[in-house]
Structure formats: C-alpha cells, structure tokens
C-alpha cells in the first residue's frame, strides 16, 4: 500500500469505528473489543507509515480538500518529527483502548458506551491529524476537533456537578488558547496569503524585517496557544481539573498523547519556523517558563491527596522538563549547535518517555480506583499484596518518572541536565534552571514514594478489604507493555536517540548539524556526550544495569552466606496491636515537614458565574461616575495623609522608591 492509502486507511478506520461504536448502548465489553480492533489496525498502519517516514520523508499528501477562499488546502506532510509522534501516540491510544474494555464496563456500568468510544476514537484521529497535517488552517481545525472530543470525555460523568464544572473550566481555557493560536495564524496568513507551514516560516522571516514588534506578539500568541494545551504553568490550570474528571483510560490518553501535541506545536513553530535572530530571546523565555512549570507543578503535586490530581500536577511538571530541553535547544541553536541538538533531542526524548510512564501511571491509578472505588490516597493502602503485577508496573513507572536509573526517565532527564549544564557554562542562567529541575526531580521522587506507599504498600486499608485479586488480564496487558517500554527505552536509549536525531536534523533543515558520532560517541552501548570535542558526560545504561545486577547478586550472596533460618511474624507496633486503620500511616503525613514550606504556590482556577447584573449597573451613571468622583475628591486629602503611616520601614521604602524614580527620570531626561 502506498503511504497515502495507509494514512487514509487510519483515518477511515478511526472514523468508521467511531460511527459503529456509537450504535452500541449497553454492552461495554463488546464495544470495547470493536473499538480496540479499529484502533489496533489504525495504529499498525500508522506505525508502518511512521517507519517509512524514517527512511524518507513522506511528502505532501493532498486529499484535495481545499478552501479556496481562505487559500487553505488540507495537506499532510509526515517528516521524521511527525513520525516520532505517530509512533508513540497511537501506542498510548491503543493501550488505553485495551485497558478500557474491562475498566469502563465495571466502573461506569450504568452509562452508555456510545458516549465514550466514538469520542475516544475521534480524539485519536484528531491527534493524528494534528501531528500529520502541514497546513496551519487544518492544523487548527484538527486541534479544535481534538479539544471538542476530549471535552466530551471530560464531562463523560454528567451526574457529578464538579466534573461538569471541570469540563467548563477546560472548555473556556482551551478555547482562549485556541483563539490566541487562531489570531497568530490569521496574522501570518495575512502576510503570506497561505496557511502552508512553509509559507508561514517565510512570513515570520519577513515579519522580522518589516515589523519586529508584531512578530513577538505573534510568537507569544503561538506560545500561549500551544503551552496551554501542553499544560504548562501558568496556562495549564485546566489540567488538574480535567484529568481527574475524565475516566481513567481517557486521562491516560490526555496526559499520554493529547498534551504532547502542544509540545509538537512549540517544536514546529519555534525550532523550524523561527528566524535565527529571535532564537535566543524566545528560547530563553521557553526555558524559564518550562522551569517555572517544573518547579510549581511538582511542588504542588507534593501537596495533593487525590491520586489523579497528583498525576495531573506532575504532568504540568514533566511538560516543564520537555520545554526546558526544547527552550535550551532553541537558545543555543545559534551559538553552539551541539548543545542545541542534545537539548532538543532531550526534550523530545522526554516527550516519548513521558508518554509511556505517565499513561502507565494513570492506568495504575485507574486500577486502584477500579478495585477500591476511591482515589483518596489517605483511604487506600496495602493493595500491593493483592495486585502484585499492578504494583510492579506502578513501581517501574514511578521510578521512571522520578528519573531513577536505569529507567527511561533518567536517560532523558540526564540529557536535559547535561545540555543545560553545558549551556550554563556560557550563560549562567541555565545553571539555575538545572538546579531547579534537579530539585524538582527529587520532589517528584518524594511524591511518588508517597503515591506508592499510599496505594500499594503498607497495611491493607479498609477500603481494600473487598478487593479480590489483581485486575483482569486485559487491563494487565497494557500496563505491562508500557512498563516494558519504560525499561527498554531506559536500557537502550541510543535507539530512540538515533531516531530523534534524525527528526531534529530534519527540522533544522539547512543548518549544519554535527554528526551523530561526534555528539553521542561511537560506543553504541552507552551515551558519551561530546561538547566541543571533549567528553563531558557519560551514561552507559548497559554496563550500569549489569553492574547493578552483579552487585545485587553479591548482596544476595552475602545475605545467604550465614544461611540464617527465617520465620513469619506479625509486625511489631511497640506493644499491643490496634486495628489496621488506627496504626496506618496516612499519605497525608508523608511530606508534612515539607508542606509548611510550600503552601499553595499554585493558583487555583476560578471562573466567574455569568450574570447580567452589570448591564443594569452600566446605565446607573450616578452609581459608577458621579458619586465616586465627589467622594474621592473629598477623601483625597485624607487618603494622602493616611499614607504617612508612621512606620519607619515604610518611610525607608519611600526613600528607596524615590531614589529609583529620580534615577529613572534623570536618565530618561537626557
């Protein structure tokens, strides 16, 4: 089959699957199998497509859908960058579909599958469209489709008022972002007369000469549009609202696949289209914003007690890592291509890894909810004894997201640290960013220790009493698959890195990029980074893993050397044993000493209730015009005199402000 047919086949399958699944109203399981089948075939065709794309770019596929008025024509262009996403995202989608078969059937028994599967499938289709299309107009169309379908999934559970409100938050925030994106697109269109990506790059370039202010505005709009979807702080406020509201598998898709499209957009615009002279400033902005997102998201996650809220805030944090990598890359594209390439690869690599472990974590959380019916970390506990496989996958995922070697999270974080560190040698700002990122990764570890300890380990809580056994095989399979992915990507990082190198090189286009071996070393078993010829960092997962195994064996040998007898006993409570829940150590207390330090650094999203009162107020001139004027006039003297509060420090502050003002004015005046 030609790649063209493959692509259309995938779309067709997803759409047809949506139509068919929408016919079922009762049987979750059957619907699930059908949806999985469609998703599976679609994914396979997409994977073939992606693998072809790696051999050579799949040039413009034009279905002939045109909007002559707007000069927009539906065009697909699958280069290596899109191929990366086309490899990863359907994988996540498929996993969540398989997972949903049993899960949805049990948890949402009362509901109708016709309100879940069609939208899930369409969502996947939209995501594919977003990463595949090379025409901004249709890119935005797919984007909007993605938003709408995911929005339906968020308020899937209509009965719950809080979830409907979460959906409302999601809807508003995302559409504000989309509006920004659209505005930016319109500006570029008005300059280039076409929506095609290539022309947009040209338009941005020309804008640089003609109107340097406008280009910054346009870029800012693009950034807001993309990073809102990606869930970056401070635009990601919808994320902790929407993720917990959606059903488990859906949130896996959201965090594993959907928010990645935002990163994709950032990469496209700011790496491919951006003119060189703007790279430094915008790279810096993206990196700093990313780091802020890491810091705030992670530390806020530390304070959460709802398993899915924990994960959502960590999505905010992890997105920060990706943006830090990409931002650093953009920043150094001009000055030092090696650092830039490493950083860009690191960012994309983290996208891939995050897709694996975060969707896995959402599935784990869903599994716990599936068996106990609650998401409150303080209520569950000790499930590990009953669901060992789930716990194993959960541990792998947690260590991966915390960046513990030799798992995949470490590989990408390591690359990010290395590149930002090398960058920091020339511009120290990045050193601070590295430190913030590092600190946050320990905080991540802390919060996942809490996650594991609260859900799977420790004494069995009453909530877990009714749990019979581990989740069914159809829910195990995706978890295991994802866990394996985490391990494999961690142990042989060079495999994905080669692909990513191709992608980055492809999107850098004409720029001369150092050869692969000159950056990552010739030794294929491990990475040895070369910056300016000298080796500046090495990470050889193969040897490390073997070493770890060997050392573990040594430890095992030591422990067995005394061939000590062993005996089963009950835990010792320093006296009489109480019933479990009294002596359980709740998740809430785990980071208690830390909470005092960081309370509420994340602003909560508040949307105003719509009311028409203001119209009436508008015509009441006395109310808002005259009386205030009169009052303020009379009160002015008193106000000013009140400013002399008598506080010495206050007066000192005046002095300081005065100094600044005097300096500013005098300098402005000359």
């Amino acid at each position: 089959m030609t790649s063209e047919q493959l692509l259309f086949l995938a779309f067709g399958l997803l759409v047809v699957g949506a139509v068919i699944t929408s016919l079922f109203h009762k049987d979750w399981r059957k619907t699930g199998y059908i949806a999985t089948a469609f998703m599976g075939v679609a994914s396979i065709s997409l994977w073939i497509l992606a693998l072809r794309a790696f051999s050579q770019n799949i040039a413009d596929i034009r279905p002939g859908l045109k909007l002559a008025v707007l000069g927009a024509s539906l065009t697909f262009h699958i280069d290596k960058l899109s191929a990366i996403f086309l490899l990863v995202l359907p994988f996540v989608g498929l996993a969540s579909m398989v997972y949903a078969i049993e899960y949805m059937g049990k948890v949402y028994a009362g509901q109708s599958p016709a309100r879940y599967y069609p939208f899930a499938l369409l969502l996947m289709g939209a995501i594919v469209g977003v990463v595949a299309s090379s025409d901004l107009f249709f890119f935005i169309v797919f984007w909007e489709l993605m938003t709408l379908t995911s929005w339906v999934l968020v308020w899937f559970d209509r009965e719950d008022a809080t979830k409907v409100r979460a959906a409302w938050v999601y809807f508003v925030m995302i559409h504000v972002a989309t509006a920004c994106m659209l505005a930016a697109g319109v500006v570029t269109y008005s300059l280039s007369g076409s929506w095609a990506f290539g022309d947009i790059a040209g338009a941005l370039g020309r804008m640089g000469q003609t109107n340097p202010v406008l280009i910054h505005i346009v870029l800012a709009l693009f950034l807001i549009g993309f990073t809102t979807k990606a869930g970056m702080f401070p635009f990601g406020g919808w994320l902790p609202e929407a993720h917990p509201a959606a059903p488990g598998p859906a949130s896996a898709i959201f965090s594993g696949a959907m928010i990645k499209t935002g990163i994709y957009g950032v990469f496209r615009v700011f790496v491919e289209f951006l003119a060189p002279e703007y790279r430094e400033v915008w790279g810096g902005i993206i990196a700093v914003l990313g780091t802020t997102s890491i810091f705030v998201g992670t530390l806020t996650a530390l304070l959460q007690d709802d398993s899915k809220r924990v994960l959502s805030f960590h999505s905010i944090g992890q997105v920060g890592y990706m943006l830090l990598g990409i931002g650093t890359g953009i920043f150094f594209l001009n000055s030092s291509p090696v650092i830039a390439v490493v950083a860009l690869i690191a960012g994309l690599f983290h996208v891939v890894n995050h897709a694996c472990f975060k969707s896995l974590l959402f599935l784990n959380a869903a599994a716990a909810e599936y068996s106990t019916g609650t998401r409150d970390l303080n209520k569950v506990g000790g499930l590990g004894a009953l669901m060992p496989l789930t716990m194993a996958t959960a541990i792998i995922a947690s260590l991966a997201i915390a960046g513990i070697p030799p798992l995949n999270g470490f590989a990408s974080k390591w690359l990010i640290y290395q590149s930002s560190f090398q960058g920091g040698l020339t511009s120290p700002l990045f050193l601070l960013l590295v430190l913030a990122a590092f600190f946050s990764s320990i905080a991540t570890l802390a919060s996942f220790m809490k996650f594991l300890g609260a859900i799977f380990l420790g004494k069995l809580a009453t909530a877990g009493k009714k749990v019979t056994g581990d989740v069914p095989a159809s829910m195990q399979a995706p978890q295991i698959a994802l866990a394996v992915a985490c391990i494999v990507l961690g142990i042989i990082p060079l495999l994905p890195i080669t692909l990513l190198y191709g992608a980055v090189r492809g999107s850098l286009g004409s720029m001369s990029v150092p050869g692969f071996a000159n950056i990552f070393g010739a030794n294929l078993s491990g990475i040895s980074l070369h910056f300016g010829g000298v080796t500046a960092g090495v990470w050889n997962p193969a040897i490390a893993t073997i070493g770890l195994l060997v050392c573990g064996l040594i430890a095992y040998a030591i422990s067995k050397s005394g061939n000590a007898p062993s005996r089963e006993t009950a835990p010792w409570y320093g006296g009489e044993e109480y019933t479990t829940d009294q002596v359980r150590y709740r998740a809430h207390g785990f980071v208690l000493p830390f909470k005092s330090a960081f309370v509420r650094i994340y602003p909560t999203v508040r949307l105003p209730r719509m009311n028409l009162q203001f119209l009436r107020k508008l015509f009441d001139f006395d109310g808002w015009l005259y009386n205030p004027l009169v009052k303020s006039g009379s009160r002015l003297t008193d106000r000013i005199s009140r400013s002399h509060s008598g506080l010495p420090a206050m007066y000192m502050l005046w002095q300081l402000i005065g100094v600044v003002l005097v300096l500013v004015i005098l300098f402005a005046w000359r």
């Binding site: 002015l636 003297t637 008193d638 000013i640 005199s641 002399h644 008598g646 010495p648 007066y651 000192m652 005046w654 002095q655 402000i657 005065g658 100094v659 005097v662 300096l663 004015i665 005098l666 300098f667 005046w669 000359r670």
Partner: protein, 522 residues
Amino acid sequence: MSTETASVIPALVVIVPTSAAVLIFILGKYAAGLREVLAVLGSAAALALSAAIVSATLRGEVLTSFNNQLYADSLSALLISLISGLGLIAMIYSLKYMRHQVQEGGLPHTTTSGRLTAFYGWIMLFIATMLWACLSNNIIMLYVAVEASTIASGLLVAFYWDKRSLEAGYKYLMLLTVGITFSLFGCVLVYASGANILGGSKGLLLSDLRTVAGSFPPTTVILASAFLIVGFGTKAGIAPFHPWLPDAHAEAPTPVSALLSGVMLKVALYALVRTVSLFYPTFAPVAMFALALGVFTLIIGDIMALAQDDLKRMLAYSSVSQIGYVLVGFGIGTQLGIYAGLFHLLNHALAKALLFLAAGAIIYSTGARKISELGGLAKKMPITSFCFFVGALAVSGIPPFNGFQSKLALFVAGAEAGDWYAVILGIAGSLVTMVVLLKAAKSVFWGQATPPASAPTVREAPLTVVVSMVILAILCLGIGIYPKAVYPPLKAASAVIQTIGSQGDSVARSQSSPKYRIARSR
C-alpha cells in the same frame, strides 16, 4: 572678579561656637548660670564674625582658611549670618523657656541642670556644625559636616525622652543617616571623577572641582546628581523624603524646632545647590527636575498641612511646602529665579522660626498643642498672637510682609522662564498655605478653648521669649516693607550660585550662558 584672601575669620566662625559647646559641657556642671552666658555669647560672637564675612564678601572678597578647606563666598556668608542670627535668637528664647521645660522631662540619668547643660552644649554644637557645613569647601567634608549636624541634633530631637520624642529621634537619625549616605555616594562619584582629572587630593575641593565639572562623563554626572538630590534632599525635607521632618520638628523642644525648620533645612538645600550646580551648565535637565520636585514638594506639604491638628506638626508640614518654593526658585534657574529662591529661603527662615517660637510660647503658657484644644488666646497672650499672625501672613505671602516679596519675585521669574505650571501650582499652593495657617490662627486665638488651655492662669509668655519673637516679627515686617535692605547680599549670593558650574570667571560664564539659554528654551 573675586579675590581669594586667606583669613582667620571663617575658621573662627566654626571654632568659637564649638569651643563654647565644649566649655559648656565641661563647666556646666560647676557653674549653673555660666552655660546660658556661654551659649548667648558664643552665638553672638558667631553672628558678629559672620557679619564681618558678609561685609567682606560684599566687597567682592572671598575669605578662606586652612588652605582653602574653608571657603566663604557671599552665598556662604548669607547662610552663616542667617544661622548665627537665628541661633542667637533661639538662645535668648531658650533662656527661660528651657528652664521651664526641663522640669517636665528630658534626657535620662541627669538632674534638670544636667539636662540644661546637655541642651545648650548640643545646640551650640548643632549651630557650629551647620556653620561648618556652610563654610566647608571640601566635598567630603561638606558631607561630613551635614551628617555631623544631624548627629548633633539627634539627641535634641529626642530631648524629652518620652515615647513620642524617642520615636521621633529614632526616625530622625535613621532616616536622615540613610538618606545622607546616598549623598555620600554622590560625593564619592564626584570626587572620583574629579580626582581622575585633577589627580591627588585636589579633587576634593569644590573650588577646584568647578573648573573641571564640565568634563565629567555624562553618566557619572547623572548618577552623582541623582544621589546628591536624594541625599541632601532627604535632609532638606523634599517630598517624598520628608516623613522624618514633621515628627522631628514637632517633638523637639521649640528652640530646636525653630533651628531645624529655620536653618537646618536651608543648610541641606545649600549643600544640594553647592554640589548639584556644578553640573548645571553641562546637564541642564537637572534644573527642570529640581523644579518639578519642588512643585511636588510644595503640593504634598500643603495637603499634609491641611490635615493636621497638632500645631507644631502643621507648621512642620508647611515648612515642607515652603522648602518646595525655594527649590522651585533654584529650579527655574534664571538670575531672577535663583534670587527669588534665596530671598524666600531667607524669609521663610525668619517667618517659620517666628511661627515655631510663637507656638512654643503657646505651649509654654497653656501646656496644650492641639489646635482643637486651643482657643481664645488673643486676649490672654496678645503679643504672641500678633507675632503668630505676622508669621502666618509672611509665610503665606501676603503683603506687606517679606514672604510676599519673595513669592512675587518667584512667580515672576517662573512666568519669564515659561514654567507656567509651576507658577499656577505655586499660587494655588500659597493660597492653601494661607488657608491652613489662618484657619489655625483663627481657632487658636479666637475660637473656644477646652481645658487645660482654657485655664484662667494662662497668660503671656516671659520676657525673653517675647523679645526674641518680636525681633523676628520686626525683621519680617521690615524686609517686607524695605526689601532693598537685603538685596545686595542676595544678589551676590545668587551670582555665586549661577557661576558655581561655570569656570568661575566672567569669560566662562559668557560661555556657559548661551548653553543654558538653549536649555531653558524648550
């Protein structure tokens, strides 16, 4: 034009009061009456010496001591005569006043006589430091002297040692020292740039710096003038650096308030002009900025004065606004403007000192200081009320008092220079000042009194107090009626200010004046 002649008089002007202070500290313990005598004599001697300097400068001489460390030109002469004159009057005023006040309270661990010793000693030091500041020709020493005057007056502000005065003293010392430190930095910058051109220690002498100030790098000029404005401006009570002022002026013993408001602010302003005017020809905007700052200050001062109920605080805030006027005068920068500024400086010194002394007299006899509590004193203390009215009308610029002359000159100068906004706001401000002061005067002297001010025992203040007030009142009236009396020294002084920046001789001035014409014509 001006011939520099080494002379011992400037040195004496500083040394005499200092030694008087030292003697008071030493002998005060043994001979109770001696300290007053010493104080009066010391300030009188200082006055005489400054009169000598004035006459010398009017002859076009410039007296220097300690090989140019002290440098008395007509500007310095004006100020030192003002300082020593007001000092003498304050001393006469204190003779009875303080004797009565120290009964109520004062510095700890001392007897009443010990307190008197401390008072006279410190106040003589205060006067001495101010004289030194006005005579110093060494830019670092100028700073040191100004700071020293703060230190010397610090304990005087906190003299009564009760909650209010302690608070005032803390704010006074802390805020002023921090503010002044900025100006030290400014001086350092000026010195550093000067030393790079002149080399060695010559860069420290203002009289040398003026010859090279034109060739400083512009950024240094801006930085230095900014820091100097902030630093000395804090001490001069320019908004928004003024908050220490009402507290200190209101809580200090009345003679001290009179000196603080009458001359210390002026000394700070003098330091400001001395240093910043160095850059005036090269950096004309600094003048416009000073103008704007002055307008802002006078507005803030008036608004604040409106809201006061405490008599002395009200006077203090009105001092803020009057300082604003003086600054406006210097900011206008034309010959007439500077003249008007100096003239108003003089007038305000006299009038505001008069007002403070009158307020002190009222407090002395009634023990009350809130306007709302006072009332009906016109009959009980006629002379005081007369003096207060004179002062109030003079400050708010009503003919035939001196304030009118200076403000008129000020507005004319502003109009000539085209700074209309300053003129309009200035006139509005002086109206507000009049309202404030006359309202206060009305309710104090005619309104209804509440205890203790309404006690039948209230009567006119003792003789020395009255005498000192009357002298000032006569001066106000006299200058108002016959301003020519003070014209020559003011003229000379303003000429000095105008030529500080330029190289000091007529040629250089003719060079600099077109430049500054350009700067004026927007």
